[in-house]
């Protein structure tokens, strides 16, 4: 079974880290990942840019684009996609297509990645 592990923390706190703290934390996290990667058990690893770079696309036939992160609490995180796009416009278009295809309510939050490693885990 593949599991997604989602990381939550205060972005103000993390954003205030000094360069040394940042490097130390990333090295410690890297060591944990390295162990999994050597066993072929690590899938994609991504770090998102701060929520200030986020755009929300409400699902619907006429998708509504809102600046800012997804902030509702009545919906839950159900999944995610990583797509390669030339611009935010293109990414929003993909989100809108997905929203139309789902035919449901809810939203997609579009957020650029700060770091991405594709990894090579596959379901066992």
């Amino acid at each position: 079974m593949l599991y997604a592990i989602l990381c939550y923390d205060s972005e103000d706190v993390v954003g205030a880290w000094s360069r040394d703290t940042e490097t130390a934390v990333m090295n410690r996290l890297g060591a944990v990942q390295e162990k999994l990667a050597s066993q072929g058990r690590l899938g994609p690893v991504a770090r998102l840019m701060p929520t200030t770079a986020a755009t929300t696309v409400r699902k619907g036939v006429e998708p509504l684009v809102l600046d800012g992160p997804f902030a509702e609490t009545k919906e839950q995180l159900l999944g995610f996609y990583i797509v390669d796009c030339d611009s935010l416009d293109e990414a929003i278009e993909v989100a809108a297509d997905l929203g139309r295809a789902s035919g449901s309510a809810g939203a997609h939050e579009v957020r650029p990645l700060m770091l991405y490693r594709p990894g090579d885990a596959s379901a066992s």
Partner: protein, 419 residues
């Protein structure tokens, strides 16, 4: 158990929201600040063992408000009932009943707090110092260091600024849409001023002023979160990030300014550039250009060029022309002239520059750029004269040293004496 460093960072990030709300309750800057300090002391006593609350800012507001009210009560009773010990400490049960203010209220609170600091009666440096003290929570010593003056003098400057504001009254009514936009514009300008105070530093003091850049970016991010649909605010943060990304390459080991063309681009911070570009992309989707977005777009073109020679000067020249329309200023035209010199040569640039002579006569960069163009055209005597004017107007030792280099180079052939 909660890490003390985590608590410090959480307190720092909650500060603008908390102080802003307390200012609304008490309508007095000093009281708001004292109430916040008291709340922080209690947080430091409680959070390490009990863990932080879910919403640190709301906790600090509630605790700060109650402690401020206690102080008021105590001082009013002191005349009648000395040493009153009946004042209850704040229980955690109460703290958990934190009234969650809605985002709209926070937004106006923080905007008010920042706007109060950029009061038109205050000189810009006083406004910046006040904002750094009150909103960012830097210590007087830190601010004094950044402004290269003594702690005592900075303390006085801040005290005077607070008195000036108290005299003229803080606007507490909820602003209307136009007023809100005006406040936001003034606040954005102040945030960029804070950034430039840090960014324009060079020499030995550059390190001490660098925190100003980080504070400005932090305040900018706060504004983006409060006003996500304002493309100019997003553009301002993009601009600051794109400029800040170059800071490691901006000064050489002696603290001298390294011109953009000569910077080691490998030392630019790629992650910060990526975030700046993403924010600019987001801002420009709104199709409502403004001065910060256009300046960020110019910075983005520099950031995208892997070498100085790859710089898209044609696009930069067009963007400066846009900036001239949005915000006509001889300084912007001067910048366009520099872009034009790269694109069409020094002659065209000089032609654009000539009509500005009167208005920019006391401006260092005008004479510096003019000297460079004349130099490129081989008009050595005129170049030397322009550089001579520039050196007299230099605002820092680094600027003067740069011009001195140009003058030394120009005089070399005319000065055959051995060194």
């Amino acid at each position: 158990m909660t890490d003390l460093a985590w608590i410090d960072a959480a307190l720092a990030s909650a500060r603008p929201r908390a102080v802003a709300a307390l200012l609304r309750y008490f309508r007095d800057m000093d009281m708001a600040q004292e109430a916040y300090q008291e709340a922080c002391l209690r947080a430091l006593a409680k959070w390490p063992s009990q863990g932080p609350p879910r919403d640190p800012a709301a906790w600090l507001i509630l605790v700060g408000r109650n402690s401020g009210i206690d102080t008021l009560r105590r001082s009013s009773r002191e005349t009648a009932l000395p040493s009153d010990d009946a004042l209850s400490d704040l229980g955690d049960a109460e703290a958990s009943l934190v009234d969650r203010l809605d985002e709209g209220q926070y937004r106006d609170d923080i905007l008010r707090l920042l706007f109060v600091c950029c009061h038109p009666d205050l000189p810009a440096t006083a406004a910046i110092a006040l904002a750094l003290r009150i909103v960012s929570g830097l210590t007087v010593a830190q601010i004094a260091r950044a402004f290269l003056i003594g702690e005592k003098a900075m303390e006085q400057r801040i005290t005077r600024a607070k008195a000036r504001i108290a005299d003229s009254g803080v606007p507490f009514e909820t602003p209307g849409a136009i007023e809100r936009a005006e406040r936001l514009g003034a606040v954005a300008a102040m945030v960029y001023l804070i950034f430039n105070e840090g960014y324009s530093a060079s020499g030995a003091d550059a390190g001490a002023r660098e925190p100003l850049c980080r504070e400005a970016i932090r305040l900018g991010r706060l504004l983006v979160r409060l006003f996500p649909a304002e493309p100019e605010i997003t553009g301002l943060v993009a601009l600051m990030l794109l400029q800040h990304a170059r800071s490691a390459a901006r000064l050489d080991e002696h603290g001298h300014v390294v011109l953009l063309d000569d910077q080691d681009r490998g030392r630019w911070d790629g992650a910060v550039i990526a975030e700046g570009l993403a924010l600019l992309d987001k801002a420009m989707r709104r199709h409502a250009p403004g001065q910060y977005q256009v300046q960020a777009a110019i910075a983005a073109l520099h950031a995208r060029a892997r070498t100085a020679a790859e710089t898209d000067w044609a696009q930069i020249e067009r963007l400066y022309a846009t900036l001239e329309r949005l915000q006509p200023s001889p300084v912007v035209t001067l910048n366009r002239a520099v872009a034009l010199s790269k694109l069409s040569g020094p002659e065209a640039a000089l032609e654009l520059l000539t009509p500005l002579g009167e208005r920019l006569d006391s401006y260092f960069y005008y004479h510096g750029a003019r000297g460079a163009f004349l130099d490129q055209l081989g008009r050595v005597d005129e170049a030397r004269e322009a550089f001579g004017r520039a050196i007299g107007l230099a605002g820092s030792a680094a600027e003067a040293a740069y011009i001195r280099q140009q003058l030394d180079r120009l005089s070399a052939p005319h000065n055959p004496e051995p060194l």
